[in-house]
């Protein structure tokens, strides 16, 4: 955790000193992020979702959202967008208290969510004149990536994204450098798969949702493709192995979880505004999350995808198209089924996010389908990512209590 914190703090420090370093800044998104390419041009990424998430955790998001609403944004739209817009209107002060640099390039790699496009149309107007590079990731509508989908993306990379990056950074595209970075990405990806796979053990040595969101931090926010990330994941893996050897459960903010009572798979992003309270509702009852879909928004590595340095542009394209919300509903259901089965989950929980259609639309059908296929107890709660108005503690607690009771009964019956 310390290494992870240092890495992220380092990125924000670099961002705060771009005036001195002369480094160029790219605003972009997590799902389908082109970290390796950005890095190959020595540019620095800013992820608006991370700013929103951090604002949520620091209890700032409510104020930012209201600010955006004062500027004409509806109450009913994605709160990440509003939080980010509100933050920018209020001076763009980042999580470390320092002003974030303005973008030199707006890189809209829009994967798995249509709202990203709307978000950038808004950003583009907040930063008039800043070049915009758009890359569309075709949706895996037929549960597959066809050669023409990849070809479409590669063409966009070659003719839209790379030329704009060259222009902004003043550097020529260096394929060999990119290949080197991609090799390290694949290595980090191998490690992260092993780490998340450790939840097969009983007790599970990690929580794949509440702690999982920290684990995916480096790989998602620009460190994929660095030696630092590889070292971090190696270290983390070692730690996880030690926990397994000692038979220890996951670490929570209040220490090691005592007894593992329920193993859950969770679908949907977490709530950030009351993250700690939210988590506590689970670990207090001995519920550990053995897999979650949210930790796959920045890349699905479960079926063996790794960045392939031999085909640098094609691999970037495939990576983008493989992110969780770019999978069609049947694919998502199959992936969750795999998680439930392989990680021996006792229950399946949907955390439905009020303002995120990309996840929410279809979640109820997915839940039904899994319930029918696997006869697994299912639970449903509603929160929001960063709008504190939609986190109703008592409501969530009541619903979770009933869910846990149901799981308890089921486990008793099974023991009999």
């Amino acid at each position: 955790m310390i290494i992870q914190k240092e890495m992220i703090a380092g990125l924000f420090k670099d961002l705060a000193s771009v005036k001195e370093s002369g480094k160029k800044v790219v605003y972009t998104f997590i799902p389908g992020n082109l970290s390796e390419l950005i890095r190959s041009f020595d540019m620095l990424p800013v992820y608006p979702e991370i700013n929103a998430l951090q604002s949520g955790m620091r209890k700032k998001s409510g104020e930012f959202i209201r600010e955006a609403e004062r500027h004409g944004h509806s109450e009913d739209v994605c709160t990440y967008v509003k939080c980010d817009v509100g933050m920018m209107i209020k001076g763009n002060i980042g999580p470390t208290g320092e002003k974030l640099p303005d973008p030199d390039l707006l890189l809209l790699s829009y994967t798995g969510c249509f709202t990203f496009m709307k978000w950038f149309e808004t950003l583009e107007r907040l930063y008039p004149g800043v070049p915009v590079a758009l890359i569309q990731s075709p949706y895996q509508e037929d549960a597959t990536i066809t050669p023409e989908m990849t070809e479409y993306m590669v063409k966009q990379l070659k003719e839209e994204v790379i030329p704009k990056m060259e222009e902004v950074s003043g550097q020529k595209f260096d394929e060999e450098k990119l290949k080197g970075i991609l090799k390290l990405s694949a290595e980090a990806e191998d490690w992260i798969v092993k780490i998340f796979d450790s939840t097969k053990h009983r007790p599970s040595p990690i929580d794949a949702y509440f702690a999982g969101v920290y684990y995916i931090g480096p790989i998602n926010i620009g460190f994929r493709g660095t030696q630092e990330a590889v070292d971090y994941y190696k270290e983390l893996y070692k730690e996880v192995q030690e926990r397994i050897a000692k038979g220890l459960g996951p670490i929570t903010p209040e220490g090691v979880m005592k007894e593992e009572k329920f193993r859950l798979v969770v679908e949907g992003p977490p709530n950030w505004t009351s993250f700690r309270e939210f988590w506590k509702l689970f670990y207090d009852r001995g519920a550990v999350i053995v897999a979650s879909s949210y930790t796959k928004v920045g890349g699905v590595y479960d079926y063996g995808f790794r960045h392939d340095s031999e085909h640098p542009l094609e691999t970037l394209a495939e990576y983008c198209m493989n992110c969780y919300t770019n999978l069609n509903l049947p694919q998502r259901i199959n992936l969750l089924e795999k998680c439930i089965t392989e990680y021996h989950a006792d229950g399946y929980l949907t955390n439905s996010i009020k303002s995120c259609n990309s996840f929410a639309a279809g979640q109820l059908m997915m839940m039904r389908e899994l319930e029918e296929r696997l006869e697994i107890p299912v639970g449903f709660i509603e929160t929001d990512l960063v709008d504190p108005r939609y986190f109703s503690y008592s409501n969530i607690k009541n619903r979770l209590e009933s869910f846990f009771e149901m799981l308890e009964q089921r486990l008793l019956i099974e023991q009999d």
């Binding site: 500027h71 004409g72 944004h73 509806s74 009913d76 739209v77 994605c78 967008v81 809209l108 829009y110 969510c113 249509f114 709202t115 496009m117 709307k118 978000w119 149309e121 808004t122 583009e124 107007r125 915009v132 758009l134 569309q136 075709p138 949706y139 509508e141 037929d142 023409e148 479409y152 063409k155 966009q156 003719e159 839209e160 919300t325 069609n328 509903l329 049947p330 998502r332 259901i333 439905s352 009020k354 303002s355 259609n357 990309s358 929410a360 639309a361 279809g362 979640q363 109820l364 059908m365 389908e369 509603e382």
Partner: protein
Amino acid sequence: MKSLESIVERCTELAFDLNFTHAKEWKAEEEGRVLVGYMPVYIPREIIHAVNGLAVGIMGAGDRKQIIKGDAYYQSYICHIPRGIIEMALDDNLNDFDGFIFPAICDVIRNLSGMFKVIQKGTFVKYLDLPQNFQSHIGGEFYHKEMEHILEYIEKINGARVTTEKLNHSIELFNHNRRLLEMIYDLRQKYPWRMTNVDLYHIVRAGQVIPVEEHNEILEAVHDHLQKDIGVKQDRIKVVVSGSFCEQPPVGLIKSIEMAGCYVVDDDFMIGSRWIQGDVDDASGNPLKALAEAYISRSPFSSSVYDVDNPKEGRLADLVKKRKADGVIFAAPSFCDPALLDSPILQKGCDDRKIRYIGIQYSENTGQFKVIKEQVGAFSDSIKLWEDEPVAV
């Protein structure tokens, strides 16, 4: 020639026949015909027509169907249209349809395509990934392939092979359809009292569910009628309605806008039927390419189109100017991310250009319009009374 009243009456029946009886009868008349349902906003209907198919617009159940199962599939904070569509799919309304196309507009429609796959409705379910790259050899080519996929699906069903002649013929028919619609909108802009917006709405909507040949006949007759000096001019303002491109406003809402003192001279209800601005080349050796080109270079501004090189607020302002409208009514479905996220951009564009506007929200099954009527009434009064003051309500 049939009277305008009888045409409107027939179109009203067709527009809201949620069993799609006419389309199903058309299919039954001849072996090898296929029915392809499509969701808002735009698909190239020409290609379906060219392979012995009928593209049928599924614009939602509106306020005409009780939603029982649909609500169990959607959280309260998701717009209304997918509930009605899934309800229709789970009931018998969409039986006899061979396939379904879900064009890219938002994540709700996108994920609905997956739901259709899960319930295995139709022989094929295609999410049509409309390109956001507007260069012919990049986005255009990709779109070309997307169209080919649709044709392959249909060929598997009825064995129909597409030819250049057939495609060009279909393009010609749809060009004619769009031209007629444009002419009717032009006439209504000048003489909006000759036909209500509600009547026009039914006429356009009927065109989503019947063969284009029949719709062209209807539009020709309507156009002839509108050239006559009918109706009585009233003291109303002219408005453009924007934001209703997907989930349709209830007819009662359109009526309320008119009754509150407005003539709607342009709108984006079923914008898909007027999508391509101008004609598609109907004499080319590569009609699919012609369709792709038309999409790439002649789409309207829309929430479903990334607008970096062609800002939408400017294009909305152009439309207001072209229609000589007094203001804009932003009418968006509740919980519609694309429309609602566009609103601040478009409204700022209006502020900057001193175009008056008002924003309202609806759901396709809204039954109460009193408040909306009052709001729109105040808006139209303010324009009539204080002509020079910018107004934002």
